[in-house]
Symmetry: C2
Subunit: 408 residues, 2 copies
């Protein structure tokens, strides 16, 4: 990015106070990978015994760091681990050179941190197709290790940003058997957001005690209803990665704890919503709630067809309650629908019922709802019990400004 | 449309001279369906014996006129027929009232033209979800019939426009056994363009002699490689309709004539390209040619993923040869790809080969290609013999200007 972007109007007032997670330390540095005058590499070190789980993009053109992480997830957890992330260059579609760069970075991080190379997870985000100048990263790993700080998570959230206009963090604490378990997570993501399996770059830490398999199961389950239910532009990244580490430092076993499970889902949902709220050019946060489908999968197909429709997203930008375009999107989605059973609402205002405009529909009321910063589109298909809710943003001039010259 | 749009920079210099097709006459009128101060209803009358074929949207929320046409296509052809089209209101998602409107219009047209109601085909295009004031159309059918003119096809092309910035026409003549057979067609379409089966509103006429079944077969075959291979915004209309009529007035049988078949495909391709060139906000005409896929269907999945990617379309608007986004789109498409066999070119410039940037790639040359009005993206997957070419336009501020307040 050559220019600086205005902060999203949907951004939270400030970065949240995140709890320190015992067993995790962070450091960041300005390595000049691509950007000048800002941090662009972060290192997180995990204490021995940490469990690590992950979820990654399903793209067929996955980046080299993603392939390396996927090969390592599920491995032994009785040694320390490390996470290295750079912004500015995605190390994607970089051929053999990309694989070599991952090898060099993970080897150098293993040596700097004193952990096995098989426990070093790396991510890269930024431009696709440019060789990653990995020597700029390997050169600073010693300095990074010397600066590791348990309170460095906000700085880490800033170092991984690309077109993001604000750093993203979320946390939860749960009382279990008189002890406190904490969860803290950070994310980056703004464009190329239509996750398929995981999304963007997300790192979540907890001091809970949980085995790797149980952690992976929870992470995968909640990914489906959080990160996999957001979309900014229907474009799926080559580099999406979500990594979660449980250090066990609290001494509290959470494998079967429902409160922990709910808290984890809340943190993931919060981060997912923050990514949408920083969607490129976003002025409005949009919830699309589909009910009455034959099953949940078909509900999601309809919800995503609505959330990805350029015509609907531009209508929202124009504050136009153009529900005819919602009908269009349902019609094109490919999932079953019966025109004459459709009901549509904007916020609490019923727009259409049984395949036609509601008799008491007020365009004025619907237009008032569209003027708000939070827009809700509700659709009931009248076919069954299937449901899905997804989140997106509007499509504005800002998206085109940002993407017509991202590389310049 | 409350405002008038600048003519697309991709528009042809002028409307083409279309041949008169013996057996077809046209009339248009300003009925005030929605727009003021312009024609908005067209009537075409077809001589007895005309064969009529059609292709229509696959949307699950098809409009009432589409459902009525689909029920009638394939019927007897030994009587006259008529086509009635209005712009300004799509009569879509209008419930029972929509069906009643079609019934009233087709009954009135049948009476005015002296043809069976089962041979009156009607289309409506414009805003979705508003009741169609059909009495404004039925009231003018007598006047329209009195004005029917064999040379009225250009006026018809103008009367069916909505957000179109230029009227669209194309023609061909073929010499067969010393006689001349002519084909003339018109189309409208600019947004909500991601045809599935047929597209937008298209009417093609010929004086050739051809049976209904043979005509339908040719029309359906060529639709797959022409109208079904264009996309403006990935949004599929509720109202797409393509109707072709063969009057037989030339006395030339063309059922097995290859020159006629090629000419028909050329006319269809020309009209399809004109729709893309009038894509909402379009500044550039983009060809996406995918080769080397395992089969043609998978080639089309990749081609459409590229052509519909907002990130690629905005990069093209910014004249940025951002081939990393092409890699991204191939990765997300869902069809098989092998990153390390991918080759990509912009125009004649090879950008990437075997999964990495080409050794002699010149960003300067690629940028020069992107500055032209016609952009070609070529992808070879290196997997097999499957291929598909599709056409689209760039995504510009103009698209958002037009669609953020289409209804105002």
């Amino acid at each position: 990015m050559g220019k600086s972007l205005a902060v999203s109007p949907l951004a939270p007032a400030r970065f949240p106070d995140l709890p320190v997670i015992d067993g995790v330390t962070f450091a960041t540095i300005a390595a000049g990978v691509r950007y000048q005058g800002r941090t662009d590499v972060m290192l997180a070190k995990l204490a021995p015994g940490s469990a690590v789980a992950g979820a990654f993009t399903r793209s067929a053109t996955r980046a080299a760091p993603v392939l390396d992480c996927q090969a390592k997830i599920g491995g032994a957890s009785d040694e320390g681990a490390a996470i290295v992330v750079n912004s500015g260059n995605a190390n994607a579609f970089t051929g053999r050179g990309g694989t070599d760069a991952v090898e060099a970075i993970t080897a150098a991080a293993a040596e700097a941190c004193g952990v096995p190379q098989s426990r070093v997870f790396t991510s890269s985000t930024g431009v696709i197709g440019e060789p990653l100048p990995h020597e700029r990263i390997t050169a600073v790993l010693g300095d990074l290790h010397a600066k590791l700080d348990p309170a460095g998570i906000e700085a880490a959230a800033r170092a991984i940003m690309t077109t993001d206009t604000f750093p993203k963090g979320a946390s939860a604490t749960v009382e279990i058997d008189g002890k406190t378990v904490s969860i803290a997570g950070i994310a980056k993501g703004s464009g190329m957001i239509a996750p398929d399996m995981a999304t963007m770059l997300v790192y979540i830490f907890t001091d809970a005690v949980i085995a790797t398999d149980a952690l992976q199961h929870r992470l995968s389950t909640h990914t489906e209803t959080t990160f996999n239910c957001i979309t900014v532009d229907s474009d799926t990244s080559t580099s999406d990665a979500l990594i979660m580490a449980a250090t066990g430092a609290s001494g509290v076993e959470v494998a079967d704890n429902e409160a922990f499970d709910a808290a984890l889902r809340d943190v993931m949902m919060d981060l997912a919503h923050q990514v949408v709220k920083d969607g490129e050019g976003a002025q409005k946060f949009v919830e699309v709630a589909v009910t009455g489908a034959s099953n949940d999968d078909e509900a999601k197909v309809h919800a995503m067809a609505i959330a990805n429709s350029p015509l609907i997203k531009t209508a929202i930008a124009g504050e136009d309650p153009n529900w005819g375009r919602v009908v269009m999107a349902i019609g094109k989605s490919g999932a079953p629908a019966d025109r004459d059973r459709l009901s549509i609402r904007f916020g609490d205002i019923e727009v259409a019922r049984d395949g036609w405009r509601s008799p008491d529909y007020s365009e004025e009321d619907a237009a008032a709802h569209m003027k708000g910063q939070n827009v809700v589109i509700g659709v009931d298909l009248g076919l069954g019990e299937g449901r899905c809710t997804v989140w997106t943003c509007d499509l504005t001039h800002g998206y085109i400004d940002i993407n017509a010259d991202y590389r310049s």
